[in-house]
Amino acid sequence: MRVELNEIRKYFGPVKANDGITITFEEGNIYGLLGENGAGKSTLMKILSGFQPFDSGELLLNGSDATFTSPREALAAGIGMLYQEPLDLPPFTILDNYLLGRDNKVIPDRQAAIQELIELTQRYNFDVDIKAHIDSLSVGERQQLELVRLLAGGAEVLILDEPTTGISAEQKDLLFASMRKLAKEENKTLILVSHKLSEVQELCDHAFVLRKGQMVGETDVPCPNEKLVEMMFGQLPERSPRPSVSLEDTMLSIKEMAIRTYRLSVEGLQLDVRSGEVIGLAGLEGSGQGLFLKACAGLLRPAKGSIQLADKDITNHSYHATLAEGVGYLAAGRLEEGLVAGLTLTEHMILGALERKFMIDWESSREETSKRIEHYQVIGTEASTADQLSGGNQQRLLFSLLNTPLRLILMEQPTRGLDVRSADYIWEQLYERRKDGTAIIFISPDLDEILDRSDRIAVFYGGQMLKVVEASETNVDELGHLIGGEL
């Protein structure tokens, strides 16, 4: 199906999320929609998929005018969207989740639906246990099910909004393979929304670039990376080089540690981290790196072994006792674990302060907050609440909440959902801290990030720390094999 968007405008108060965007998508192609955080990509796609109305403009499907008042209408007209966070029902069984809104008889035909589900999942090589509940699945599997649902609902145009955030490399390959199949064999129109150049280069035929709510360029891909970057940012940002820091004494020393949960046991953990050193933890989701990080932060009690921070044994310290020793921890789930949705930035600052006073000194707290807001370039005010910030800004806020000085920073996916420039900025701030001797340990599903940012890389596989390698002596290929368990 051919989709034309003409002069689409959508303002949120003073924010011009979409400011007169004109784009045409032809069938049988895979399009990339690029742009940094806040460029207006999601807004445009939500308009196309009926989730949001537009202020002005025109939407043509195969040449005829269309307006949707709900995603359901859009799907009936052939447009389906996979949201950043899969829009499914976690407590439901897979079958119920699939049936909702699909089979509209009072008593749905379960057998037929099961057949349909099996057939569709097989066609796209998805592998899911139909009896399971959605909340027992990984994000990748939930996406696959959403795709299946949209296809069964008659989608001719499929929009995927940042689909590779939070899924494994394997699942990404599977997803891309099925996207190619859908476009080339089944003649569907696919739109990949992303801020990751490599993905667009790998998968798409043609890319559109948005900046500040406007279409600023298009090109066939693959093309030189510089061309896309220039369109996205206006000028070429340089990836800041990792300043070399002389590594000092051992800051963190893990000996013979074992962590046992009823899902996964991690055994034989051994690692020495020197002050100023950056350690990247690589591995497929659930290989044990997350448990390791949580144990270091005092969120899990190790079954065995010891943790030494500088010259102090912190093995069985609680989370708060660990923080008091100068450890900072950033969880992956921003609004779930890291921030409190309804509290203002100032209140966050006060909550995170190590020194607890009974009465709050609002004046100086506000000053401190505005200093940090400026330093970390958070777009928001002292009085905005955490949930009012965009994803990238929430991430920056989390960083601004880390106290100084720290001996050790532990991070899960520090730059998740950030574009190149914001990620770079965050890392510059982190490098600054190394000068004070802060050691950094982080987890990332992005092997490039791990390679570029770490001094050494610890690879996890199936509950073991398989190998620790010097970042300068390895490459993405070797890491890719290592995280798959091939030594």
């Binding site: 499914d88 909702l100 809104g101 009823y262």
Partner: protein, 325 residues
């Protein structure tokens, strides 16, 4: 206790549990759709009073039940309108209605206190009631018991086996996802809040017209709160809720029995037994004990057992949903 006494006690436990089963089914429907109707205690009093007064003055028990259902539905409608349209707190509205129902029922019913009135009687099911032990317990019962059991089964089936049931549960779990699939979330919430309220009304009337016949000030006081607790205890499932209502009745009967056996211990101590047991069960089921427990079971059993023990409130319970996200 000899056998026939025991059978009598069991039959009475099931009968006493019936109104609770009805109220629990109604409130489970409402909460599954994402609305907490906290006014149960007040609306049950109001409907018990109305049901009795209407049945007494018209001498028609069915009209009594109908009036009670309307009263319950009306209370629920206030909760729905206040929370969905006015976007006010469901908890606050529910509380105020509870207090209102208590006082208003006492005031409006003051001329009908302790009068003999019409009532539902036993209905003996031929053949089945002949079965030894089970017959007298289950098939020689008050009509209200049959209604409660059928209602629990039907609401369960509706919730988990039909498309409207999916719409209902989706509205309570994740309204934005439901909206994306074409569900009119707020209409669903109105519908099941009012329907649930009507059932609560019937539950109220079944006290004054079948179980504790007549009307007096505070006739059903406390039972609304008990029903609300059992909804949680029963994991928002009408069948588990029905089992919960019966277990609750059984512990109460046990408390009465113990009281007779140990007359020197204060009555109050035995009366608190059901509550303590309820809290204990909630603690066990709510902890990660269930995860650990299911993990040691053989594989094929894990799924069903986990399903059986799952107690998670509907994710969007008590939240308002605006259509323009």
């Amino acid at each position: 206790m000899n056998e026939s006494e025991f059978v009598l006690v069991l039959a009475s436990i099931f009968l006493q549990a019936s109104p609770l089963m009805i109220a629990v089914a109604g409130e489970a429907l409402t909460e599954r759709a994402g609305v907490v109707n906290l006014s149960l205690d007040g609306s049950m009093l109001m409907s018990a009073m109305t049901g009795f007064v209407v049945a007494y003055t018209t001498d028609n028990i069915w009209l009594g039940f109908l009036a009670a259902a309307l009263v319950g539905a009306f209370f629920a409608l206030i909760v729905a309108f206040g929370s969905i349209y006015l976007k006010q707190s469901q908890v606050a509205i529910g509380f105020v209605l509870t207090l209102l129902g208590d006082d208003l029922s006492a005031f409006l019913g003051q001329n009908f206190v302790r009068l003999p009135g019409p009532s539902f009687s036993k209905f003996t099911i031929p053949l089945l009631s002949e079965i030894p032990i089970l017959g007298p317990i289950f098939f020689d019962q008050n009509v209200i018991f049959y209604f409660a059991v059928i209602l629990a089964l039907v609401t369960y089936w509706w919730l988990f086996r039909t498309q409207p049931g999916l719409h209902l549960r989706a509205s309570g779990e994740r309204p934005d996802a439901a909206f994306a699939r074409g569900v009119n979330v707020n209409r669903v919430r109105y519908l099941y809040t009012v329907l649930g309220g009507a059932l609560v009304g019937i539950a109220g009337a079944s006290y004054s017209l079948a179980i504790k016949i007549g009307w007096s000030d505070g006739h059903t006081r406390g039972f609304g709160w008990i029903a609300l607790a059992i909804v949680i205890f029963g994991g928002w499932s009408p069948i588990r809720g029905a089992v919960g209502a019966v277990l609750f009745g059984a512990t109460k009967a046990m408390a009465t029995y113990l009281q007779r056996a140990f007359p020197e211990v204060s009555v109050v101590a035995f009366n608190s037994i059901p509550w303590i047991l309820m809290i204990a069960v909630l603690l066990v089921v709510g902890s990660d004990f269930t995860e650990r427990f299911t993990a040691i079971l053989p594989k094929p059993l894990q799924g069903p057992v986990r399903q059986l023990l799952r107690v998670a409130p509907p994710m969007a319970l008590g939240n308002t949903f605006g259509e323009d996200p």
